[in-house]
């Protein structure tokens, strides 16, 4: 299979969305169903109106055929996102804690289950704000690049994917410059040592003896 240049630099967004659909969400089933034995585990049985935990892909499938209602995850509420936004906007703060696939999960739920959310327009706006603040923080992270280590906690999958080409290349370049610098440093130290070795003992006496008055 041919790999496009876009795929070589990291994941594509549809791929990340696919991976994100393994996360589990809570649903309220509308029809009665027996348990499903899937590869990753057993799901069900569905007895409305009891809430059940299912993988996101299954929830989307059921939702599209009108067999369930999706319960919004706790972090995907207007109030919680507004608090996170406020905390994120404070100067010199680290990234706030969000689920690793928060962008993808939010997108899927907003696309397929918008009616299950309260104030979806507000949530969309808040998510956009959150993303912009975090992006400016990653740019601040660029200032602290060094060839050894850079730690940025709580970045999400899509954000890491976005900065991957730039940071990977910068780390490479910095590492090569570091190697070059230490190589020339080593060779210069060796040169200095050999210079001392070449001085014979009589010359050294002259050099050191001339400063003492006899």
């Amino acid at each position: 299979m041919a790999v496009t240049s876009r795929q070589r630099e990291g994941f594509t967004m549809p791929e990340l969305e696919y991976v994100a659909q393994c996360e589990s969400v809570t649903i309220v089933p509308l029809h009665r169903m027996d348990r499903l034995e899937l590869v990753r585990g057993t799901v069900g049985p569905f007895r409305p109106p009891q809430k059940t935990k299912v993988p996101l892909w299954l929830a989307v499938m059921l939702k599209r055929t009108n067999r369930c209602r999706i319960v919004a995850p706790t972090w995907l509420s207007f109030e919680h996102l507004r608090d996170l936004c406020k905390r994120e906007e404070q100067p010199d703060s680290l990234f706030t804690r969000l689920p690793f696939h928060y962008l993808e999960i939010a997108h899927i739920i907003l696309t397929y289950a918008e009616d299950d959310l309260v104030d979806s327009q507000g949530i969309r706006r808040l998510l956009q704000d959150l993303r912009e603040v975090r992006q400016s923080k990653t740019r601040g992270g660029m200032e602290m690049l060094n060839p050894l280590q850079l730690q940025m906690d709580n970045l999400s999958a899509a954000e890491i994917n976005e900065i991957r080409p730039l940071f990977r290349h910068s780390f490479d370049m910095l590492r090569q410059l570091d190697l070059l610098a230490s190589a020339t440093e080593d060779s210069r130290q060796q040169q200095q040592q050999s210079q001392f070795g070449e001085l014979s003992y009589s010359e050294m006496d002259n050099v050191m003896g001339s400063s003492y008055p006899l």
Binding site: R6, G10, P165, L166, L180, A181
Partner: protein
Amino acid sequence: MAKRSYYDIDDILAGQERVPCFLRTDLDGLGSAGSGGGSSKVHRNTRWTLPYWMADRLNEEDYLDMEVSPIFAKRANRMYAASPESMQLRAICQHYYQFGLQLGEMVPEIPHVLYNMYMTRIRKVARIAQQGHNVEALDFVQSLDKMEARMLRLCQQAQGAIIAWQQNRAYALKRAAVIHD
């Protein structure tokens, strides 16, 4: 010799930059290989410019003395340290960074110079990629060398990919043609 990737085309092109050399032997029949002069005999103790990859090998065999290219001479290095963002790298050398890495063994200041240039310029590149196009940045974008231009393109693509996906333009599921109702 600095570690180079053998198959990297940009690396090969970067090594093509000419450096001034001081010949130590007579070279017969190679006058047309250098810049200028159609005569076929080149005498010793003349100055000549050769591509870096050639000059480096001949330097080790002592056929000539390789000197530092004017791109990384002391005066140029001071200029780079003074104002990295306004340098026209595309005009100076299209493969500036890679050539600098190759010359790094000869000139000990190169790691600092390159580090300075790279950090200031790549920050500006990242900022431009995130803000989209604006008119003042056009001059800067035109002065980028090949590696920085590639970085800018990659960053812009990464940006656009997330936005396109959020607007549901990233992919479309259609029924396969082989399925008949």
